[in-house]
């Protein structure tokens, strides 16, 4: 995709702002947005995420929308390299959180826009992929699947409904023996097992595809060590997947009755990063962990490119800070060799290290 121009209205510190992107090469852009801290670099990336994903990065609408305004608007002018057509995309969000999106001035469903353009990213908070708990990596994997599997969102929400239904019956039961003899619970667990099979199959498949990319990327660009994702389910499973899940749920009824929650299943499964055979959380330096998180996100991006028909831009926010010289060079090389469509942000001083002539600069200082 080529981003020609974006217009921001009432977003963070901007009342009204037009930003023209360098696009003379008529090809996928690799852009480095420069400016001092607080210049609004991250705002531009957040706005693109909101435009394509309808999602406000780590913030409530109240903080995204400029103080005193009731509604924020972002409008972008893009060129699709695949269909060779221009598109105008406009999205708005009100202080109450209601949002709308239009494509070429017609209001549409967000999915339609995502079929043409989409965004994937690395933000400083992504270090949590290494340091954080299983839930962060679960939502990373589930989020990734949703990029190219349009039914997965429903599968996950069905799963949550079923777990809540199961918990409700367990909470209502008067004693433990009652939960082992409950037709309603049998019925819920049967449907739950079916949904669980779906989730396990999709997660396992995506993780194996992701590992192929990740192991290669890590070896090729970072070090000769191995980094891979490991998935361990909390369910006791056998070859008869559905039956064994059903059995596993049945067996845990007693424990679950006492705690009032469902203790096994995809919502409790362990997803870890294994670095040289050990949990990556406890290995390596801060800089190395940041590179691991970046490698993970770039692998996800490559998988999306393989599986999705639209054009996807990779956004990397404040990547170079907190990395030493060698790690900076590694990170830049990793991005420029793997991300055909790329927008990065950096401060002026950090940018000296960027030597790739292919990367165009957009200095926020110049367009004030």
């Amino acid at each position: 995709m080529i981003i020609k121009e974006i217009y921001l209205e009432n977003i963070r510190k901007y009342s009204q702002k037009k930003i023209f992107f360098p696009d003379e090469k008529k090809n996928n852009q690799r852009i480095l947005i420069l400016g001092p801290n607080g210049a609004g670099k991250t705002t531009i990336l957040e706005s693109l995420i909101f435009l394509f994903r309808g999602f406000i990065y780590g913030n409530s609408p109240q903080r995204f929308i400029k103080k005193g305004a009731s509604k924020a608007i972002i409008r972008g002018y893009f060129f699709s390299l695949k269909s060779e057509t221009n598109h105008e995309i406009s999205a708005s969000i009100s202080i109450k959180g209601s949002s709308s999106i239009s494509l070429n001035r017609k209001e549409v469903k967000r999915e339609l826009v995502r079929k043409i353009f989409d965004a994937y990213w690395f933000f400083p908070q992504d270090i949590e992929l290494i340091l954080g708990g299983d839930e962060i990596r679960r939502s990373f994997i589930d989020g990734l699947i949703k990029y190219f599997d349009s039914t997965y969102k429903k599968t996950i929400s069905d799963y949550q409904t079923l777990v809540k239904a199961r918990n409700e019956i367990l909470l209502r039961a008067e004693n433990e023996s009652e939960v082992y003899n409950n037709k309603e619970l049998d019925a819920i667990e049967e449907v739950l097992s079916k949904t669980t099979v779906e989730i396990l199959k999709k997660r396992t498949r995506v993780i194996s595809e992701l590992n192929n990319i990740l192991e290669w990327i890590y070896k090729e660009f970072i070090s000769d060590k191995t980094l891979r994702i490991d998935y361990k389910t909390t369910l006791k499973i056998s070859d008869k997947l559905k039956d064994s899940i059903n059995e596993s749920l049945f067996v845990s009824r007693g424990t679950d009755f006492r705690t009032g929650s469902t203790s096994v299943g995809p919502h409790r499964d362990h997803i870890s990063l294994i670095y040289e055979g050990r949990d990556a959380r406890y290995e390596a330096s801060y800089g190395e962990r940041k590179l691991m998180a970046l490698a993970l996100k770039v692998s996800g991006y490559k998988l999306i490119l393989e599986k999705k028909s639209g054009e996807v831009v990779f956004l990397a926010d404040d990547l170079l800070s907190e990395l030493d010289g060698n790690h900076k060079i590694t990170a830049l090389k990793l991005l420029s060799m793997n991300c055909p469509s790329l927008i990065m942000t950096a401060t002026e001083i950090e940018s000296n290290i960027v030597s790739d002539g292919d990367i165009q600069r957009l200095n926020l200082e110049d367009i004030k």
Binding site: A165, R172, I188
Partner: protein, 202 residues
């Protein structure tokens, strides 16, 4: 702000009990009714009472009916040994429109949803079991909606009816996944009925 007349406030309050009607809509509707001719307003109010007095549930299948027993249940040309279980009267109407089905219905009045406090006791499941024991149907078709609640209900009914009915089938593919039966078009329903799969009745 001056207080509204009592009658006006009361109507707003009543209207807000309707699904999808918030304070704003209730206010607008109340104003609209205020401007109506007296005869029109009378007719609106009469038809609400008429609905409550004269439309009732069929004693056999719990579909909406003018009489004690509905038209379908009293039709001798229909197959009374075949019962199609649906969630709501409108689901039976959708299946009727397809013109493929010649059996009878049983309306559950909803689907299992423990979070919303709907379990087997809140649905017409006891009545279904009594009916099955009395009629001894040759086939029961479970046509709950193809969503999670409908699936939980179907799984529950299957467990309950196993061994009591020789043939238990379920509306198979064709009905759009995740969609409600109400919105499925008639051809897809017809297809789904023709290709319904037999559930394990062992």
């Amino acid at each position: 702000m001056a207080k509204l007349p009592k009658a006006f406030e009361k109507l707003i309050e009543e209207l807000q009990k309707l699904p999808g009607v918030g304070p704003k809509t209730a206010y607008r509707l109340a104003f609209f009714i205020l401007k109506m001719e007296k005869e029109e307003a009378q007719s609106l109010s009469n038809s609400i009472i008429d609905l409550k007095d004269n439309v009732r549930y069929c004693q056999i299948c719990f579909n909406l009916s003018d009489e004690e027993i509905c038209q379908i249940c009293s039709d001798e040309n229909r197959n009374h040994k075949q019962i199609c279980i649906v969630e709501q009267p409108q689901d039976a109407i959708s299946i009727e429109r397809s013109g493929e089905y010649r059996g009878t219905y049983h309306i559950l009045g909803g689907a299992i949803s423990p979070q919303e406090g709907v379990g087997p006791d809140q649905l017409r499941i006891r009545e279904l079991l009594e009916r099955v024991e009395k009629v001894v149907p040759e086939e029961v078709i479970i046509a709950t909606n193809p969503n999670v609640k409908g699936e939980m209900t179907a799984a529950y009914l299957l467990r309950l009816l196993k061994g009591k009915v020789p043939r238990i089938t379920q509306l198979a593919t064709g009905v759009p996944f995740g969609g409600d039966l109400d919105f499925a078009d008639e051809i897809t329903i017809a297809k789904a009925l023709q290709s319904r799969r037999t559930l394990d009745t062992k």
